[in-house]
Symmetry: C2
Subunit: 629 residues, 2 copies
C-alpha cells in the first residue's frame, strides 16, 4: 500500500513545529527531517553507529527498535520511545522531538570495544583479531615450529590449542606479507589465521529459523552495524506447514530428518553468501553465527532426532547453549565461524522464545510484562525480574490462514482489515482485488462481526432476529442454519470471481486458535496470580503481530482486556535477541541463565486447563456461556 | 628358515635342568616348557594378562619385549631379561629360569584399573566407560532434556559438554534397554553414548606410520592385551621411496598432498577394519588411537603442508601433541575414537623418535644410552636422565637395498648373511637361490670383505697384491681397476642366472649411508663429550635393526666400537612407544615432556660435521686415511 504520512518535528528549545508529508516507502525519520528542513546531525553517515540523530517519538506508531537502536540507546531509552532517526522508518503520522545527546553528539561509538558509558550495551562479541608479525623458523638448531613462532608473538592473548583446520593454513600464511598475520579468536580459542592485516573485517550473522520463515542479518562485529538483511519462507515448509506436521514428517525416519536438515543447511548457506555478497564482505570473515529457533527447528538443523519432541512429554534432546564450529554442521559458506545455538526451555518453548526474552528484557522488568508470540504455536512468557513463567499454546494454522476456507498468508490480495457499518468494507494488501483473508483480517472480521451482532459471544452466526441487521449485512449471511457463512466480498469484486466468505467452521477454527493462545495467557495469569490490572505491558512479537489490529485482538479475546496503549508490537524479537547475543557474549551467557530461570507451565497436564480453554474460546467473557462446537 | 632351538629350563629351587628342542615357527617359551615337561602356570590363558608365567632368560637371544611384557613386568624387569613365557618367541638356543611372582602367582592384573603395585606400568588410557540407568523425561512440567537426564546420573564423573555427534545418538539410545546406557569418556570428555552395558568393550589402536611401512596393533584398553597386529608397506611409497622424495612429490602442490594423505587414510581405515575383524570387536568400540610417525608422515596424514619441512631449516608446522576426533580427520572406520598424535622434536626428528624414547626409557636412564634407528633417515638419540640430544642423519636408501646394483629389501631370496674363508658363503632368506642382497647382507659382506682384505679401510677394492688372496676370492674380483666388482654368487647358483656382485660404487653408496649414521652418533658423542667407554648401552630400533649382524655393524663402523653385549636390538620401539601412550595417559603426557626436553643437533649446520662425516665413511678408523670418492 502506498501511503503518505505527516511527520511533525518539535524544536526542543523553542517549541516551534515544522512538518513534512512523506511517502511511506522506506523513508526514515531522518529523511522526513530533511524534507521538513529540520537539521539533525548524522555523523556516522546514517549507519546507526553513533547517537547524533537520536530523537524521541512523542506520538504515533513507530517500528520496533533495531539492533542499532538497542546498542546505541540502550533498552531503557528504546522503551521510552527514543530512536535513531537514521534507522527508524516512518509508519504512521507522528510527532518527533530531536534530542541529540548533549555532551557527545556524534561521538563515534564502540570503536575497538571501547564504547563510552553512555552506550547501554557494549559490544563484546567474543571475537577478537590479533595482528602479529611473526617469522618462519630460520635456525635449524633452535627447536621451533611455525605455530610456536606465531603463538610466541601472541603471548597469553589466546589459548595455545590450534584446531586442525587452522594448522593447515599456517605454513603459507606465515610466509606471505613478510610474516604479518591476523589471528582470529573466539572466546580465546583460535579460529583462523590468515596472512596480512585483516583486522578491519570482523563479521557475524544472526538467524531466527522459524517454522514458517527464516530471517537473518549480517552484522559488523566491531561497530554493531547491520550490513545486510536476508530472509525467506522456510524451505522445509513443503514438508508440513506447522510444527507438529513437520515433526510428524521426520518422526522415526532418519532419511526424512536428513531431508529437512539439508533444506535448512542449504538455505542458511545461501543466506550467508547472499548477505556477504550484498555487503561486499568475504564469508571467510564471518566468525560468529547465532541461531534462535524453536526446538524442532533447532534439533532438525543440528541433525538431532525430533521424534520424541513430538510425543508427550515433548522433551528436547538437548537444551543447553551449544557452540559448534561451522565445519562440523557443516555450514560451508562460513568456514571459519563458530556457530552458537541459543538455549531451549522445553519442547515447545524454544531458543526463539529465549531470544525474545533477551531482546525484550522481560527478565529485568520491575512490573509484570507479558510476551506473546502468535504463530501456529503461540508462546507466552509472563513475569518480571522476580519470576518468569512460559507456556506454549498449540494454536494451529488458522491465524496464518490455514484451515480457513478462503484463508491465505499475509500477501498481496489478502484482506487484512475489515470494517462493518451498513455494509462490509475490506482493506486489502497491495490495494488490489481481494483473493482471500489473512490472519489479521480474520481477527478484524470476527471482531467487527461481533460488534455488528453477526456473531454472538459464543462465535455462532446469527440465525434469528436477522431483521435487526442492516439489509446488506443480512444479505451476506448465507447458507442454511447448519451451514452458515458470511460473505465478505461478493464474487464480482473478488480477484477470484468467487465470493470470499467466512464460514461458521472458519469461525470455530479461529476460536480454537485464538482460544489456545488466550488460554495460555489466562493460565499463566492464574498460576502467577496476576490479574489484568497488574500487567504493565503486553509485548507482541513475531512476524504476525505486526499486522494485528490490537483493538480487534482484544475485542475477540485473543489478548487480555488491557488498555491498548499497554500493548506494543516489538517486532521480530527472536531475531533481535539473536543479534544481541551475536554482539555480546555477556548477553549470550545471560540467555543461558534466562533459559534456566524461566519456569515451564505445561498446559495440557494442568487439570484446570480444559475449563480455561473452553472459556477462552468464547469471544465474549460470560461465565454462563459455554461454547458448543 | 626353519630352524630348531634347544631350550633349557633351570629349576629355581633345585638347580635341576630340563631341556626341549623345538621348531622355531612361532613357538613360545611356554610351548617349550610344556615340551620339556616343566610346569609353568598360564593363569590368564596365554593372553599376557597376568604375571603367572614370568621367566628370566639366563642366556641366549630373546626378542624385544612386547607391550604385554612391559605392562606386566615393567621396564626394569624387562631390561633384566624377564619375560612372560606366553608372549616370548624362542629365537635362539637359550636357558630359562621359571620365576613366577611369589605372592600373587596368577593374579588377574589390571582389571578395572586396580592393578597391584607389582605392576610397573598401570593402565590409565584416559578412556572410561560409565554404565548408568537413566530414564527419558516423563514429566512435562519438569524442565529437562534427554541429555540432562543422562548427565544427572553421571554426576561429576564427566565434563557436561556433549559433542554434536554424540547428541545425535542420545534419543534412541536412551529409549532402548530400559534406559541402561554406556557413556564413554576420554579425558572426562564424552565421546560416545550407546544403549545397553558395553563396558566389556574398550579398545584402542597404536600405529607407527613409517616412510617405508605402517605397523599397527589393536589393544584391549582394560587389560593391555594385544588383540591383533596389522601392517604393510606404506602405500605412499610409490610416490617416493625415501623421505625427501616423498616431500618433493607433495611440495607446493596441494593436490599431491591430498593424494598422499588419502593413501594413508585409506590404509589406516582398512587396518582398523582388518584388526577389528580379526579380533572380533566392533570398530565403534575403538576409542583411542595413538600415532607415531616421522614429521613428514605426521603432517601428510593431518593434511598439513610439508613444503617447508623439506627446506632448510626444515621446521615442522606444528610440534605439540594433538588430540583430534576421528571424524575430523576423517578416520571413518573408528567413528568414536579420539586420535592422539605424539609430539615432534624437529623436521627430521619426529614423533616416531619420541615414541622410541618413551619405549626405551632412555629419559630416565642413569648411564648414557644411545638409541639408533637405522633407516633411509637415521635418527640418533643420546643421553640419560640428565640430558638428551637427538639428531637425524640422511642415510639414503642403500641400507634398504636402494641404489645398490643387486640390492633388494629383506625378502625371500635376499642374501642376508655373508661369510668369507677360502671362498664366499651366503645365507639367503628362505634358503632359496639368491636373487639379490639386502641391507643386513650388505653390512655383513662389507665387514667380511674388509676382514679378508678384499676391501681396504677406505672401502677401495683391492687392485694390487691380489696373490695374497685365496684363489676363489681372487677370481671373484672382476672388472677393471676403474670398474671393480666382487662376485658374491656366480650366475649358475643365483636365482637370476646372473652373477650377484657388489660393485665399487655399491660400496661407496654403502659408505655414504653408514657414514651418515655413524657421523650422527660421533657428532652427539662429541657435543655431549661422551667417549665410547661412557656408553652403557646402544639400542637398535626400527624394522631394519632386527636383522643386522651386530659384530659386522661394529666392524664397518656403522656403530661405535662397543662390546657387542652392550648393543641390543629393541624391536619397533616407535610402535611400542605408541602402544605405551595408548595404554597410559601419564606416558602420553610424558612424551610431550620428552619432546620438549631433548635437544636437537642439526648436523648440517655444524662446522665440524663435514670432517666427522668424511672420517665416518671410512671402514677403519685411521686419522691418516681420507676417503676419496
Amino acid at each position: 500500500m502506498s501511503q503518505e504520512f505527516s511527520v511533525t518535528f518539535v524544536d526542543d528549545a523553542t517549541g516551534r513545529e515544522r512538518r513534512a508529508v512523506i511517502g511511506s516507502a522506506d523513508s526514515s525519520i531522518l529523511d522526513a527531517a530533511r524534507a521538513a528542513g529540520v537539521d539533525i546531525a548524522a555523523t556516522c553517515g546514517e549507519r546507526g553507529r553513533c547517537r547524533s540523530c537520536r530523537v524521541k517519538v512523542l506520538n504515533g506508531h513507530i517500528p520496533p527498535a533495531t539492533v542499532q537502536d538497542s546498542i546505541q540507546l540502550g533498552h531503557d531509552e528504546v522503551h521510552e520511545r527514543f530512536r535513531l532517526a537514521c534507522q527508524t522508518r516512518v509508519i504512521d503520522d507522528c510527532t518527533i522531538m530531536a534530542m541529540p545527546p548533549k555532551a557527545e553528539s556524534g561521538h563515534q561509538l564502540l570503536a575497538a570495544g571501547a564504547g563510552p558509558a553512555a552506550s547501554a550495551a557494549t559490544i563484546d562479541s567474543g571475537v577478537e583479531k590479533h595482528v602479529v608479525r611473526a617469522r618462519a623458523p630460520v635456525e635449524e638448531h633452535h627447536q621451533s615450529s611455525d605455530i610456536e613462532e606465531i603463538l610466541g608473538e601472541l603471548g597469553n592473548r589466546v589459548d595455545p590449542e590450534v584446531p586442525l583446520a587452522v594448522v593447515r593454513k599456517v605454513p603459507s600464511a606465515l610466509r606471505k606479507h613478510r610474516g604479518t598475520l591476523t589471528v582470529t579468536a573466539f572466546d580465546r580459542r583460535i579460529i583462523d589465521i590468515e596472512a596480512g592485516d585483516t583486522s578491519e573485517h570482523m563479521y557475524g550473522m544472526a538467524f531466527d529459523i522459524g517454522t514458517t520463515s527464516i530471517v537473518g542479518s549480517l552484522v559488523d562485529l566491531e561497530t554493531g552495524e547491520q550490513l545486510a538483511a536476508v530472509g525467506s519462507v522456510n524451505p522445509q515448509a513443503v514438508y508440513g506447514g506447522d510444527l507438529m506436521s513437520r515433526i510428524a514428517y521426520a518422526q522415526f525416519d532418519e532419511r526424512k530428518l536428513t531431508t529437512l536438515r539439508a533444506r535448512a543447511l542449504t538455505s542458511i548457506n545461501d543466506f550467508i553468501k547472499e548477505a556477504c555478497g550484498e555487503a561486499g564482505v568475504s564469508p571467510s570473515h564471518v566468525y560468529k553465527i547465532v541461531f534462535a529457533g524453536n526446538t524442532c527447528m533447532h534439533h532438525v538443523f543440528l541433525g538431532v532426532d525430533v521424534s520424541y519432541v513430538g510425543l508427550a512429554p515433548y522433551a528436547p534432546v538437548v537444551r543447553e547453549s551449544l557452540v559448534i564450529p561451522a565445519g562440523e554442521l557443516p555450514l560451508k559458506s562460513a568456514p571459519n565461524a563458530m556457530v552458537c545455538f541459543l538455549p531451549i526451555v522445553a519442547g515447545f518453548v524454544g531458543a526463539d522464545t529465549v531470544a525474545a526474552m533477551l531482546a525484550t528484557r522481560i527478565f529485568e522488568s520491575d512490573g509484570v510484562r507479558v510476551l506473546v508470540d502468535i504463530g501456529t504455536n503461540g508462546e507466552v512468557v509472563m513475569g518480571s525480574k522476580d519470576r518468569l513463567m512460559a507456556c506454549s499454546a498449540p494454536a494451529g494454522p488458522a491465524l496464518e490462514g490455514g484451515q480457513i476456507k478462503h484463508g491465505m498468508r499475509g500477501a498481496v490480495g489478502a484482506i487484512e482489515r475489515v470494517d462493518l457499518d451498513d455494509d462490509v468494507h475490506c482493506g486489502v494488501i497491495g490495494d488490489t482485488a481481494p483473493i482471500g483473508i489473512c490472519g489479521s483480517g480474520l481477527i478484524d472480521a470476527v471482531a467487527k462481526m461481533l460488534d455488528a451482532g453477526v456473531l454472538n459471544g459464543m462465535g455462532r452466526m446469527r440465525n434469528t432476529g436477522l431483521h435487526t441487521l442492516p439489509q446488506a449485512l443480512r444479505d451476506r449471511l448465507v447458507g442454511s442454519k447448519e451451514d452458515r457463512a458470511f460473505v465478505l466480498v461478493w464474487g464480482e469484486h473478488a480477484g477470484t470471481n468467487d465470493d470470499i466468505s467466512l464460514t461458521q467452521l472458519d469461525v470455530r477454527q479461529f476460536q480454537l486458535a485464538k482460544g489456545a493462545i488466550f488460554a495460555g495467557i489466562l493460565m499463566l495469569q492464574e498460576v502467577m496470580d496476576v490479574p489484568d490490572e497488574r500487567i504493565d505491558e503486553l509485548l507482541l512479537c513475531g512476524g504476525f503481530g505486526n499486522y494485528i489490529n490490537i483493538e480487534s485482538a482484544v475485542r475477540v479475546r485473543l489478548l487480555p482486556a488491557l488498555p491498548v496503549e499497554k500493548i506494543t508490537y516489538v517486532g521480530n524479537a527472536a531475531h533481535l535477541g539473536a543479534q544481541i547475543a551475536l554482539l555480546s557474549e555477556t548477553e549470550r551467557q545471560r540467555a543461558g541463565e534466562i533459559a534456566k530461570r524461566v519456569e515451564h507451565v505445561a498446559l495440557a497436564t494442568r487439570t484446570e486447563f480444559q475449563a480455561i480453554f473452553v472459556n477462552a474460546m468464547n469471544l465474549e467473557e460470560d461465565e454462563s456461556l459455554v461454547v458448543s462446537l
